[in-house]
Structures are given as structure tokens and as C-alpha cells.
């Protein structure tokens, strides 16, 4: 995964540590969800969805390459996007917990995608106005793709929710199961506050209301009920992950760990 890269300074001065942390979070979110989605390839309910999920995977992988490449530059220790993807331990990953949750049925994957893409849409809309030009251009690019992801997931959630009693029940169950991972998406910590103060990143807490509104609109059409307020899981951004991430990384990193530097 190497190639000619974009230009422009990566680091922005005093906020470097926070900038690195933030960029890793975004890159890891896209990378880990790409890995989860590509597990569907060859297993999706029909060929069109197999191809659709592979396309989403590619977009997310592309985002993660840009973001991890940028993170490597900010860090300034010569680590490439590959080093960051394949040679970090699970506790060094900064992704939110929702993206590492194992695949269940197709409806579960569509609900996860809806929650995540609706969040990414709000985030990238704001981040594309960041005064960090590199983050802004990656966000502006990814935003266009995210609109397709969100539309894809929304269409499926409506079709399943407003479908047969069985598809409705399974979609509702998936929503209930995934809801506890949505709280973390809107937590703003010191890293974000520092970046927000310098106009580099939006505060996640500000994304909650518009996100919720977009989810309500889809759920209403899908005849699904928004899950009740409940305990929210958290910790992914600081490296406290569920056990599922370790298994995912074992598979994803196996080749590079076994044959360091292997290319194909």
C-alpha cells in the first residue's frame, strides 16, 4: 500500500500530539470497519450486495490509507500507513467500539453502517472546513463517498424494517444491540477540545443532534423504534477495546507479522 503522496505540511505546530491522536482515530475507524465489511465478501445474501459491500470496503480502506499516511507524517518517526495498520497492538488502536463488533446477520451490518455512516457524514461535512488543509481535503473527498454509503444503508434499513415480520424483528434487535455503541461517537475529550479551539476539528458532541435527527427519519420510514436510553459502552478511542478487536487484528496482521515486509 505505498504510492506517491499528496503534498503540504502534515504537522501544525503545538497541537501535534493531539493531531496525531485524532488522525489515528479517524484512520482506525475506517480501517477496522473496512476489515469487518470485507469479511462479507463471498457471503452476502446476493451478488449485488456482495459487490456493494466490497465497494464500501474499498472506500473505507482508501480513507484509512490517506489518514494513516498522514498520521505517519505527523508522528515523524518514519512509520508508513502499512506500519501503522499491520504492526500496532490492539491497545494502540484508536477506533470506536462499534466498528470492531463482529458481523451477525445482514440486517445487523446495515444498522451498524447506518449508525456509522450517518455519523461520518456529519463529521466530514464539518471537517472539510477544517483549517488543517490535509484533513480538510481528505474529509471533502470522503464526504462524497459517505453519502453513497449512507443512502445504501438507509435503503436497506427501510426495506428490512418495513419488510416481513422476521426482517423487522431482526432489524429491531440489531438496533437494540448496537445502540450502546453509539454514545462513544459523541464524546469530546481533551484531544478534541484542543483541536476544536484551533479550528482543526469539530467537537463530536455537536454531531449528536443532527445525527439523531437523520436516524429518526430513517427509523420512522422503516417502522423501527429508536432504542431506549441505556448504558453506553466506551473506551475504544483510548485503546480499551472489546476482545473482538484482537481476533480481527490477528487475521488482518497475520501475513505481515509472519513475513515482515512481504509485498504482492
Amino acid at each position: 500500500m505505498t504510492g506517491p503522496s499528496s503534498s503540504g505540511p502534515a504537522a501544525a505546530g503545538p497541537a501535534d500530539r493531539e493531531l496525531l491522536e485524532y488522525t489515528l482515530r479517524l484512520g482506525d475507524n475506517s480501517l477496522i470497519l473496512a476489515q469487518r465489511l470485507c469479511e462479507w465478501i463471498g457471503h452476502a445474501p446476493e451478488l449485488e450486495e456482495d459487490i456493494g459491500l466490497a465497494n464500501l470496503t474499498l472506500d473505507l480502506l482508501g480513507q484509512s490509507r490517506l489518514l494513516l499516511g498522514l498520521a505517519g507524517e505527523i508522528e515523524g518517526r518514519g512509520r508508513s500507513e502499512d506500519d501503522l495498520a499491520f504492526l500496532r497492538e490492539d491497545s494502540e488502536f484508536r477506533n470506536v467500539l462499534i466498528v470492531e463488533q463482529p458481523n451477525r446477520d445482514f440486517g445487523h451490518t446495515m444498522l451498524r453502517q447506518l449508525f456509522f455512516s450517518a455519523w461520518q457524514l456529519q463529521l466530514f461535512e464539518r471537517l472539510s472546513a477544517s483549517n488543517h488543509p490535509r484533513l480538510a481535503e481528505i474529509a471533502a473527498k470522503a464526504l462524497k463517498e459517505t453519502r453513497y454509503h449512507l443512502r445504501y444503508a438507509s435503503t436497506w434499513v427501510v426495506r428490512l424494517g418495513d419488510g416481513t415480520p422476521q426482517s423487522h424483528e431482526r432489524a429491531q434487535n440489531a438496533a437494540e444491540e448496537l445502540w450502546r455503541f453509539t454514545g462513544e461517537l459523541f464524546e469530546s475529550d481533551g484531544v478534541e477540545q484542543k483541536l476544536a479551539a484551533s479550528g482543526i476539528a469539530p467537537l463530536s458532541q455537536d454531531l449528536r443532534a443532527p445525527w439523531r435527527e437523520s436516524i429518526v427519519a430513517v427509523f420512522t420510514e422503516a417502522t423501527l423504534t429508536l432504542p431506549a436510553q441505556q448504558w453506553m459502552a466506551s473506551g475504544g478511542r483510548s485503546g480499551r477495546h472489546s476482545e473482538h478487536l484482537g481476533y480481527l487484528l490477528a487475521e488482518m496482521q497475520h501475513l505481515q507479522r509472519t513475513h515482515p515486509g512481504a509485498e504482492w
Binding site: G3, P4, S5, S6, S7, E48, E49, I51, G52, A54, N55, L56, T57, L58, D59, L60, L61, G62, Q63, R65, L66, P133, A136, E137, I138, A140, K141, A142, K144, E145, R147, Y148, R151, Y152, T155
Partner: protein, 168 residues
């Protein structure tokens, strides 16, 4: 060996060379016509070519970069530097008229709307004119096709499947 064209107007000559490079995933359509080549400039003896990816994860990006380097080096440019420019983000609005004609000739319906339009925002829908017979009696079968930039359709008039280049 340096040709007269290259010596006198090296940048225009480079564009000519690039004009003959087809997109590896959309055979028959050139990377210039797709709007992937953003800028060509010569500084001292180094030729800088700016390329933009269609989608962030487009797997053809690296292949295109090496096709461009090889073609320009074969044409006599000694030092070719490829830069990937993300901004402004690629849009289907940059596909040229000739590109649209060639897409259609290769069984791919060109984008119907400008990227920022309300219609484009609604996503691919039924009724995109068939790339083969032009009928609008067509149905979307999948929002995603063989590459992220295309959707799949079938035509009820000529009964052929075809691809549609989505607005982006």
C-alpha cells in the same frame, strides 16, 4: 531522442501522450477524458503530473500512476514526478464530452446530472437512458457495480444489462 514537438512545447506534447492512456478499469476511455489528470508542468528538466483519484480507495490509482510514468518516459521525458492531488475532489463534472461519448460506446451510461444538483443527491434511480438502445425503460439493479464509480442497471426494452457512471 527529442522530437521537435517535445522540444518546442513539452507540456502540450505531454498532454498528447497522456491522451492516449486508457483507464485500466474502463477500457476505451482515456484518463484525460475522465478528468483524472489535473495538471502538467515542467520545471527545469522535471515533468510534474498531478493526478486525482476518482474514489479514495480506487484500486486503479497506483496502476494509473505507473502507466503515466512509463508512457512519459517512453516518450522521452527523463524525470517524471507523479503527485496525487486530493483537492479539489474529483467530480464527474470533469468528464469531457468525448469521454461521455466513449463511455456510451463502451456500454456505460454517462452521469446524467451535475454533481451538485438535487437530482444527483437523490442517488441513482430508475430511468437512466440505456447505454445500448437509449430507452428510459430501465431499472436500477445495484447502486454499486464492478468499480465504486458505477451502478448496475437493466433495460426492459433491449433486455441488456448496462453500467451507469454515478454522479459524484
Amino acid at each position: 531522442m527529442v522530437s521537435a514537438a517535445q522540444r518546442n512545447e513539452p507540456e502540450a506534447f505531454a498532454w498528447q501522450v497522456l491522451d492516449n492512456i486508457e483507464d485500466p478499469e474502463i477500457p476505451g476511455v482515456g484518463i484525460v477524458d475522465l478528468g483524472i489528470v489535473r495538471r502538467v508542468s515542467l520545471a527545469e528538466d522535471q515533468l510534474l503530473v498531478e493526478l486525482t483519484p476518482t474514489y479514495s480507495g480506487c484500486p486503479a490509482t497506483d496502476v494509473i500512476a505507473s502507466l503515466v510514468s512509463e508512457a512519459l518516459q517512453d516518450a522521452g521525458f527523463g524525470h517524471v514526478q507523479i503527485k496525487h492531488a486530493l483537492s479539489p475532489a474529483w467530480t464527474t463534472d470533469w468528464i469531457t464530452e468525448r469521454g461521455r461519448v466513449r463511455l456510451r460506446a463502451n456500454g456505460i451510461a454517462p452521469p446524467q446530472y451535475t454533481a451538485a444538483s438535487h437530482e444527483a443527491n437523490l442517488g441513482p434511480r430508475d430511468g437512466v437512458p440505456c447505454a445500448h438502445c437509449g430507452s428510459t425503460q430501465t431499472q436500477l439493479t445495484s447502486e454499486f457495480g464492478s468499480t465504486p464509480c458505477k451502478a448496475l442497471y437493466r433495460c426492459s426494452a433491449c433486455l441488456e444489462p448496462f453500467e451507469y457512471f454515478k454522479c459524484l
